[in-house]
């Protein structure tokens, strides 16, 4: 296990992937640099901005602060894995409808975080959505529209999780 390359098996966006990674490759760098899945963004690379948020076994995490090699056998969903064909995920559609972005750099992380939030079932009003989305910064300040989009799409996102539950 201490060789400089490790094999890693991931269920990534619905597909089984067998990968070779170096131990010090973060999950974020694996996605962006090795797999060309550049939807997940590198903002601060220190867990302070949330731009790199992905869903690991259904839970939202900062992909910059974890090593890919630690997640052998995991189910990973990045922003590229949320839509079904041409049909956007309800959270993606709500972000478009509410114009919940300006530059768009934080958007994939915001959306993945909001989908994770739906799964947690802990946000019941605007204040709790604000608090539980505090791990995702938007330097353009699109917060009012992000909040509106998340609030609107939480129920549909929860429904979709239940449809997909094994």
């Amino acid at each position: 296990m201490s060789e400089t390359t490790c094999t890693l098996s991931l269920h990534l966006n619905g597909q089984h992937r067998q990968l070779d990674v170096r131990p010090w490759t973060t999950l974020l760098d694996l996605l962006r640099e090795q797999l060309d899945l550049t939807g997940t963004k590198k903002g601060c690379d220190h867990g302070q901005c949330g731009a790199c948020t992905v869903l690991l076994n259904g839970k939202r995490i900062n992909s910059c602060l974890t090593l890919a090699v630690m997640h052998d056998g995991a189910r990973l969903t990045s922003i590229e894995g949320l839509a079904e064909g041409n049909e956007l995920h309800p959270m993606q559609a709500a972000f478009v409808r509410h114009d919940a972005f300006q530059c768009g750099y934080c958007t994939p992380g915001q959306i993945c975080s909001a989908v994770g939030l739906a799964g947690e079932n802990r946000a019941h009003d605007r204040d709790s959505i604000r608090e539980l989305m505090s791990g995702n910064l938007c330097r353009c300040g699109a917060y009012p529209n992000i909040l509106a989009a998340v609030e609107e799409a939480l129920p549909a996102s929860r429904d979709r999780l239940q449809e997909k539950a094994p």
């Binding site: 296990m1 201490s2 400089t4 490790c6 170096r22 131990p23 010090w24 973060t26 690379d45 220190h46 867990g47 949330g50 948020t53 690991l56 839970k59 939202r60 995490i61 900062n62 602060l65 974890t66 090593l67 090699v69 630690m70 975080s113 994770g116 939030l117 947690e120 802990r122 604000r130 608090e131 539980l132 989305m133 505090s134 791990g135 995702n136």
Partner: protein, 328 residues
């Protein structure tokens, strides 16, 4: 990040056997990997402990709870028994970090968080905690977030955890296992003051692994409060935080626990402050006496002169909230 060797043991004994002076255990990794990216830490070997059987929360024969070291901060905060019987712990955890970080960060790892002192992180400056003997630029530098209690000439850093402040107030026990066997460490003895050895955050011996945190039966579920004051409304470290827990008989205090975060190298408790509340009415006059005892000897630095008064008011407010009943 500098290259390192990676191991993923399945058993505790295997993990302990791998440990050495240049190795680190990794669980959530949220603080360790950040420090490795900053080159503050550069272990030659990481021992991934996520496959060890330390994920359970179980009742103890004494009516308490044994929390496996690998239980995530989110799972712990939202565990039904924690929410019901230890709301102080739940509140403290939810006051810290972000939902993403709480999903990864573990119970054991939270205890081992390093300080967020700017100079500790900045490898271009001296720091006695990072490189013993090089000096402490914080003492006469930017020290708004630093300690007012228990600091030393060598170090004025504070422990950053919210969870640990609640664990201190609840008098949790830390179960550890090392090359020489298992032992239990009271929360009050787990972290240490910087003295002239600020490179040591806690009293773990080399290679020792946290395996569980045990909560006693008494959770102060009826009368507790966690108050955290910080520079923004969410997702920031505490300038001052207070864990307050009371047992009341009518309006008379029967037992009290008080711990402060953001003011010292460890969660700050003073037995005299808690004793002073026993048998007294649960009112502001009693709370003020306790606050003064808890803050006795506070020595602010150039930029944190606001902290003693902020802490005094926060203690009084948190005790008042606890006395009125845990907010649900």
């Amino acid at each position: 990040m500098r290259p390192f060797h990676y191991h993923r043991p399945e058993r505790i004994e295997e993990a302990l056997a791998l440990a050495g002076p240049d190795s680190r255990y990794i669980a959530g990794g949220t603080n360790l990997l950040d420090l490795m990216k900053e080159n503050v830490l550069h272990p030659r070997q990481l021992i991934d402990i996520n496959r060890l059987p330390l994920h359970a929360i179980e009742e103890t024969p004494g009516g308490g709870l044994m929390i496996g070291a690998l239980v995530s901060n989110a799972d712990l905060a939202w565990h039904p028994q924690i929410e019901q019987h230890y709301p102080l712990l739940s509140r403290a955890i939810l006051a810290g970090a972000s939902p993403q970080l709480r999903n990864m960060a573990t119970t054991g790892g939270n205890l081992l968080q390093r300080t967020r002192c700017y100079y500790f992180y900045d490898t271009g400056t001296p720091c006695n905690k990072r490189e013993p003997g090089t000096g402490c630029p914080a003492r006469d530098g930017l020290n708004r977030i630093h300690a007012i209690l228990g600091a030393s000439e060598a170090c004025v850093a504070v422990h950053p955890s919210d969870m640990c402040v609640a664990l201190a107030a609840l008098e949790a026990q830390v179960h550890v296992q090392g090359p020489h066997g298992k032992r239990r460490i009271a929360m009050s003895d787990f972290h240490r003051l910087p003295s002239d050895r600020p490179e040591l955050d806690n009293n773990l011996s080399e290679g020792e692994l946290i395996i569980a945190v045990e909560l006693p039966a008494e959770g102060f579920a009826q009368h507790s409060a966690y108050l955290k004051l910080r520079d923004r409304a969410s997702y920031a470290f505490a300038l001052v935080s207070v864990a307050a827990a009371l047992e009341l008989d009518g309006t008379t205090i029967k037992a009290a626990r008080l711990a402060l975060g953001g003011v010292a190298h460890k969660p700050w408790r003073v037995e005299a402050a808690e004793q002073a509340l026993c048998g007294k009415p649960a009112d502001e006059a009693s709370f003020a006496i306790a606050a003064n005892l808890l803050l006795d000897g506070a020595q602010p630095l150039q930029h944190n002169a606001f902290k003693p008064e902020l802490a005094r008011r926060a203690i009084i407010r948190a005790l008042g909230e606890a006395a009125r009943g845990t907010a649900r």
